[in-house]
Each structure stands twice: as structure tokens, then as C-alpha cells.
Symmetry: C2
Subunit: 347 residues, 2 copies
């Protein structure tokens, strides 16, 4: 009753072909068929060709699930980002996907929406699938330590939570921030606001440090009320920016710590009919496509997300190859895309 049952849908075989069926059809054993198809071990060339021919004819596709179970190694990696709708994370994923494909790996992708709970849940799913490694833009320290404890190679990208526990690929936030603030100071700005999402993660901390450092280096006193925490949501941030720009003494320049915040500031300035750069200079950390489409273009720190993704995955593969090599943090530098959104402060 097991074999020989009629296919329920007419022509098509009900089940997918297995290597056993390929072997039987070719008149060889499963072992020989396996060798013929994988190319590992001895097989007489004519036998090899015949087996491959038959496999093709049957539409045989080896079951990666079974193979991975036996080999105790999978050909897929997990990727965990905060928000796919954000072009920065989308670009990151795109870069990783490209490189993964080139190395014959498949990519499991999860979007944690910035929630630490969801992030750990997704990491557990990756462990269950026994992925070869994980790339994560962490929102808590737990993910990486959890994955490391489960012996799964991890690379933190963009932000770094678990220094010393796993590899990381980040951009030189402090340096880039210092450079753009320095430029604004050079233009004559003194009331330069920093609109930021938070200040504890490496991204926020280092961008803030760069901001502070530039003031210190120039010997310019710093007004702490100009550092505004505006959260992650465009609308909430827009309201914060609106308040900031409506102050009695508004800033003459704003440094937005990421593309979402830059969008919020841009919208708030438009609402208040505050011309950029005449009344307000704007610089963004993170260059996304709209910044070169608007007039004036927005000067931005450009951290190529695709390159970041590629660096992360190549670091991940190095880690997979040599699990006991010392932990490493790769620091990428960022460039400044100068556009028209900065000018000397209004007189």
C-alpha cells in the first residue's frame, strides 16, 4: 500500500523524489547515488552521469533539512534587524543577501521592530533552525550573549552591545559626528542642537561624544538644553523638533542623529516656514535617497549600508571558519556628503 498508489492529482507524483528513488531508478545504491550527486568519493564517470541524468529527470532536489541534520551544519544564516521599512536596515539586508547568495547560503530574516523581547524570540527561532551564524543590529545585550552561549557565531552591526563577547562591524560614529559639528562651528554656528533617539547605545553615545568633542576642541561652551532626545517615531520626533525650533532662542543649526530624525526636523522646519539653510542649517547622520532629492539637498554623514552588510557577513564567515580567533571589532569610516543644507548662521 505504501508505494504504487495512484497520484491524487493525476500526472504529478504525489511526493517529492528522494535519493532512494533516484538510486533505484539508476540501479545503484543510495551511497553511490549520494556520491554521484555530491561529487564526494569514488564513482565511475558513466555511473555518475547516469545518476545525475536520472535525478534531473525526476526533478530531484536534495532535502537540505536531512542533509543538515546529518552533517550538523547548515547553509543558512540568520539576520535580525530593527525595521525593514527604514532604508538603512533595508540596505543592510540587501548587502547581506547579495553576499550570502554568492556563497550559496540562504538568509533567514526577521524584523524585531526594535523590541528586545521579539529580538530574543527571533534569536531562539534561529537557534532552533541551527543557523550557521547570525548578524544582528541589537537592541539589547541579551541576544548576542544568548547566541554566543548557544555556540552560534554572531556579528553585531551598526550598534555594539556585547563588546568582547562577539564580533562587531560599526562605523566610526564619534569621528564622523565630530567632523560635521566642526564644520558647523567653522561656519560660525554656536547654538547647534543635537536631535537624537537615545544616548546609551554605542551609536547614540558615540555620536554624542563626537558632538561634545567638537565643541571641546573648539573651546566653545556647550548648552545641554540643545541635546534633545526625540525617540524613534517620525511623528513624535517631528513634534519635539517643532518645540525645539519654537523656543525663544532657537538653534541656528541641527545635527539629526539618524535619517528618521532628519526627516522629522525637515518636516518641522517646513511647517514653521523656516528656510533651510538661511534660517536653519541641517546635517543628518545617515544618508538616504530623499536627501539628494529635496532642495536644498541635505548634508549628511554617508554610511553605506550595503557595504556595512557586506563587511558584516564577511566577518561572520571568518568567524565560522575560525571559531577561536580573537574577537574583533571592525570600524568603518564614513564620508560626508556635502549638500546645500548648511550655511553661516543668520546675522
Amino acid at each position: 500500500m505504501k508505494s504504487g498508489m495512484p497520484a491524487p492529482d493525476g500526472i504529478q507524483p504525489a511526493r517529492r523524489a528522494t535519493i532512494r528513488e533516484v538510486a533505484d531508478a539508476a540501479g545503484v545504491s543510495r551511497s553511490t547515488a549520494s556520491r554521484a550527486l555530491t561529487g564526494r568519493g569514488y564513482v565511475a564517470p558513466p555511473v555518475r552521469d547516469r545518476v545525475r541524468e536520472i535525478a534531473r529527470g525526476l526533478g530531484y532536489v536534495p532535502d537540505a533539512t536531512a542533509r543538515h541534520l546529518r552533517q550538523q551544519a547548515s547553509q543558512s544564516i540568520g539576520v535580525l534587524v530593527s525595521d525593514l521599512s527604514n532604508p538603512f536596515y533595508a540596505g543592510l539586508a540587501a548587502g547581506i543577501s547579495q553576499q550570502a547568495r554568492k556563497r550559496q547560503y540562504t538568509m533567514m530574516l526577521a524584523d524585531d521592530g526594535g523590541s528586545p523581547e521579539v529580538e530574543v524570540e527571533a534569536a531562539e527561532a534561529f537557534v532552533a533552525l541551527r543557523v550557521a551564524g547570525v548578524i544582528v543590529t541589537p537592541v539589547s545585550a541579551e541576544v548576542s550573549t544568548y547566541l554566543a552561549r548557544q555556540q552560534i557565531p554572531v556579528v553585531e552591526v551598526d550598534r555594539q552591545f556585547s563588546v568582547g563577547v562577539c564580533d562587531a562591524v560599526v562605523v566610526d560614529n564619534e569621528n564622523a559626528a565630530r567632523r560635521v559639528i566642526h564644520q558647523l562651528l567653522d561656519l560660525g554656528h554656536r547654538r547647534i542642537a543635537l536631535v537624537i533617539d537615545e544616548m546609551h547605545w554605542t551609536t547614540g553615545r558615540d555620536r554624542l561624544a563626537g558632538y561634545r568633542g567638537a565643541f571641546a576642541a573648539a573651546g566653545v561652551p556647550l548648552d545641554d538644553s540643545l541635546v534633545v532626545t526625540a525617540g524613534w517615531d517620525v511623528d513624535a520626533a517631528r513634534i519635539e523638533a517643532h518645540k525645539l525650533l519654537s523656543r525663544a532662542e532657537p538653534p541656528t543649526a541641527i545635527f539629526a542623529a539618524n535619517n528618521v530624525l532628519a526627516e522629522a526636523v525637515w518636516r518641522a522646519a517646513a511647517e514653521l516656514n523656516m528656510p533651510i539653510p538661511e534660517r536653519l542649517s541641517l546635517v543628518s547622520f545617515d544618508d538616504v535617497s530623499w536627501m539628494s532629492l529635496v532642495r536644498p539637498g541635505v548634508t549628511a554623514v554617508a554610511q553605506d549600508p550595503v557595504a556595512l552588510g557586506e563587511a558584516a557577513i564577511s566577518q561572520l564567515f571568518e568567524r565560522i571558519q575560525s571559531p577561536h580567533a580573537p574577537v574583533r571589532t571592525v570600524l568603518l569610516s564614513a564620508t560626508v556628503a556635502a549638500r546645500g543644507s548648511t550655511a553661516p548662521p543668520p546675522a
Copy 2:
């Protein structure tokens, strides 16, 4: 020699715990442990609790690979898009990811870069992984027929190549295009150009049909030289748009068939110092965030990509549940986000 070996790294166990180890530690058989952990079948409550406790203590995570092999059913779906860097596809993936997570499914994501070969390759990888289903924005008819032949549920999104072979979720391209062209005609435009990527896929074909239909309905003759095929690349399209706008008799309005082409037209108009909407009206199919950031805002057909993704995945799950239900095409309507990029043609 097999067990009892010292852990190579000191404290940590070298290998991940298996259900066998959990069972041994709890003093029960694997079967009982399995029942305790999955909740299927009889287990005495105290035993169940003890097993679960021990599993937690050992950091046991069941091997999804082994489970799927045994159950012949996986808890992951494959998603295949053309370009993750494009916010439309990114939004689609985001919507799918959200819903997949809610249903405890993991998502395998591949970016085929618009290449049919890569697309089929990726589909094969999905078959190898025995995914429960696939969602694809197809670039050829092969993918869907291949997957259907492999008995894997498929849903085509955005574009439809295999009518009758598999389910699809698409927007009402023709209607939406007709509506916006109708509005341009109403404003008095007669030389309305259509800048499009290609005209054979359902998206291109239907948007073109809507364009033509609006002219026909209004009894306005149509100049075929105003239908411009501009490819997929922003830069190439920008050059085409540049040529189009430099003609002796340039169009007074342009309908860009997607967000990339709209960006190209926008840039070309800026290069030529052609003010929008005074000298040129612009409408885009596909509303992305920059269109509401620029001045004037770009009027666009808004096809919510996240909703599209959600519709696709719910269709996929219906198909997985009832594999023999008749094939279905879900048609979503699109809205028009009216902004400032349209006006009557220059006198």
C-alpha cells in the same frame, strides 16, 4: 569516549543539548520527554513540569531541522523579491515578516536583483529547504510553475505571471492609472507622457492600459511617442527623461510608472530647471516617503506595500490549509495621494 569528554572551552558544554540528554537528566525516556515538551499525548503533570524545568536548565532548544524532517512539514516560508533597496519591496518584506512572526513562522528572504536565473536558483534553494510556501514578486513565469510542480504553494505579489497556476495578490493597476490620467486630462493636459519600465508584465501592461483607456474615454488622441520605456536603473531613466523633456515639444505632464522612474523624472526636471508644477506636472505610481518631503509634494498612486505583503501571506496560509481550493487572484485597490505636483499646463 563519547560522553563524559571534557568541554574544550572550560565551563560551556561543547555541544547543544538534545532531547535525549534532557530525558536522561529527568530519568524518563525520549518519548516521554517529547510529549512533555510538545504537549501532545499523555504525560503525568509532575513529570511534565520536571522535564520542562530540566530542559530550561540545560538551555535545550529543539532542533527544528530534525522535527521538520520527521514531520515532513516546515514552519518557514520563502520570500523572493526583486530589490530590497527599493522601499516598495522593503515594505512588502516588512509586512510579510510581521505576519509570519505572528503565526510562528520564520521567513527565508532572497533578493533576486530582477534576474530570472537568480530567481529560479533561489526558488530551488527554497525547495531544498522544504519551505511551507513561497511569496514571490516574479520576473518570469518559470518560478511559479516550477514551485507549483514541486507541490509548493506559491503566491505571486505585485506582478502576475502565472495566471491560473497559482494565487496572486495585485493592485488594480489599470483603474488607478486611468484615474490619475483622467485627472491630468481634466486639468487640461494633452501631451501627457508615460515613463515606464516595461510593458509586458501585468504591472506595465495594466498601467499602460489605464493610460490608454483614460485617453480613449475622453476622446483625446494619443501620441505614441510619449510612451517612453526607460528601464530599471535611476541613472539610465534620468537620461531618458532628460531627452524627453528636451524635445521640441516636451510633454506638459509625466506619469511615472513607479517610484524609481518618478525619482529619475524629478532629477531630470531639476537639472533642466523646469519648475514643477508650473512647467511640468508629475504623477507617480507608487508612493514612497520622499514624495511627501520634497516641495511641491509629488502626487502619487499609493499602494500600501505593507498591506500588500499582509494580504499575500494570508492568501498563502489559506492555500496551505486548503491546497485544492480553486486558484484565486486578490485585487487590491489603490488610493491617490494628491499633492502639489500637478497644475494646469502652461499657457
